[in-house]
């Protein structure tokens, strides 16, 4: 009847990533989540490609860990 020891059950908190899309050229990039971020928010960060300063948050989620081959 021995159930899982607590240490095996512990889940680790993995902060999600924020995915941004440039409203002018469509380039997508990601960074770590910052407070105040939410999906479909327009931020005035600068696009690394075209320099446009309006990016749309298109997703916030935890990236899957790559499986070790």
């Amino acid at each position: 009847m021995e159930s899982f020891p607590p240490s095996k059950m512990m889940l680790r908190y993995v902060p999600p990533l924020t995915f941004l899309k440039c409203t002018s050229c469509g380039t997508e990039n990601s960074r770590t989540f910052k407070e105040e971020d939410y999906v479909f928010k327009k931020t005035n960060e600068v696009c690394p490609k075209c320099g446009n300063n309006e990016l749309l948050i298109v997703g916030i989620y935890v990236k899957e860990r790559e499986k070790k081959a």
């Binding site: 908190y13 939410y38 999906v39």
Partner: protein
């Protein structure tokens, strides 16, 4: 040589009467188990209690951690004038009494009334504690408080049965608790991660229904308005069909009132509505794949059943077909920050809905799509 030594030792054993002693101990033990049959049970009980004690300690640790995070977050975002610790501790013990079901007539509306009172009371308290927080953040903070309350409740329940089992040395009580413990511990860990999500305002797995609805509406909205408390309607036009998308108002943590929203829309639109689709996260079975979308009929809404009841009732009255899309998740995934596989499912759902709209909704008529779930972090 070695064997000789061994034999000599055995003989020596015998001569000193040690063999006799060992034999007597054996006999004593056997008598003990014979005349005291609950002995083995007592030993087992001891082991189980120790195991539970460890898990209870972990539960307490998590409960205290979530409480700390709640206090810290309310201080950080709400900037209360005085220390909120006392009020938070008070809210951690807050309870809701379910309505009496002996006479079940009208129980859904009684339940709705009680839950709404509880919800607004909770929100009011948090608003008082967080004068600096925007409205949507107050809702997320209320969710965080709810997580703290649930963790506390879980801890108290487990402690209750542990202490009761210990006091009465009741192995069957302890056995039942121990059988539930793996799930309860998993739930506790999930609540711990949920507290991060609500403290920072990150989308959780449960929000996938809302996310899919939001993606469907984004960029095509012709009108957007509030239909019920915390519930927004976005009107879009798709291939000559009018599509009314109901969802909780983001980006604060709320599930809104989708049942009330859909009901009001149908009352307003009348017989133009040809289809109702609900999208929600659904509990997957072990072995199922997370983020997989499955379709069926009925109203896909979890929780206490009020919204589900309202939609079923009006759909039956008007003979509107009910379609449901469910995205598989585990209970842990539903309340912790959204995973990639789940987020990706939103696009699959959007495409599927478009094809269903074309197939099942005649041109010129209206469909209602309700994205169900907690909208934290989804604007």
């Amino acid at each position: 040589m070695m064997e000789d030594l061994f034999l000599n030792q055995l003989r020596g054993f015998d001569e000193t009467g040690l063999g006799m002693l060992v034999w007597l101990i054996w006999l004593g033990l056997m008598m003990l188990f014979l005349f005291y049959p609950t002995m083995s049970q007592r030993i087992q009980l001891g082991y189980m209690l120790r195991d539970l004690e460890k898990k209870l300690a972990r539960l307490k640790l998590v409960k205290d951690e979530v409480r700390e995070r709640t206090i810290e977050t309310i201080k950080r975002i709400g900037k209360p004038e005085k220390d909120p610790t006392q009020d938070i501790d008070k809210l951690m013990e807050f309870f809701v009494i379910e309505p009496e079901s002996m006479d079940p007539y009208g129980i859904v509306y009684k339940l709705e009334h009680i839950l709404e009172t509880g919800e607004s009371r909770f929100e009011e308290e948090i608003r008082k504690l967080s004068p600096a927080a925007e409205d949507y953040k107050v809702k997320t903070l209320a969710n965080l408080m709810e997580v703290a309350r649930t963790t506390n409740y879980l801890y108290r329940i487990v402690r209750h049965y542990y202490l009761l089992g210990k006091k009465t040395a009741n192995i069957y009580l302890i056995l039942q608790l121990q059988m539930l413990m793996p799930q309860l511990m998993e739930m506790t860990e999930a609540l711990r991660l949920a507290s991060y999500a609500f403290a920072y305002g990150q989308p959780i797995g449960d929000g996938i229904g809302v996310l899919a609805a939001a993606k469907l509406a984004y960029g095509k909205e012709k009108a957007r308005y509030e239909i019920a408390k915390d519930t927004t309607v976005s009107e879009i036009e798709f291939e000559n069909r009018r599509v009314l998308i109901v969802r909780a108002t983001g980006p604060g943590g709320t599930v809104g009132r989708p049942g009330e929203g859909v009901k009001k829309l149908i009352e307003r639109e009348g017989d133009n509505v040809k289809l109702i689709i609900t999208i929600d996260a659904g509990l997957r079975l072990e072995g199922d794949e997370s983020g997989k979308m499955v379709e069926g009929v009925g109203v896909a809404i979890g929780g206490p059943g009020i919204d589900k009841y309202k939609i079923e009732e009006i759909a039956k009255e008007r003979q509107i077909p009910l379609y449901a899309f469910v995205i598989y998740e585990s209970i842990v995934e539903a309340i912790t920050p959204m995973r990639e596989v789940i987020a990706k499912a939103a696009d699959v759902v959007v495409e599927k809905i478009k094809s269903v709209l074309l197939e099942k909704v005649p041109a010129g008529s209206t469909a209602i799509i309700a994205g169900i779930g907690n909208t934290v972090g989804i604007g």
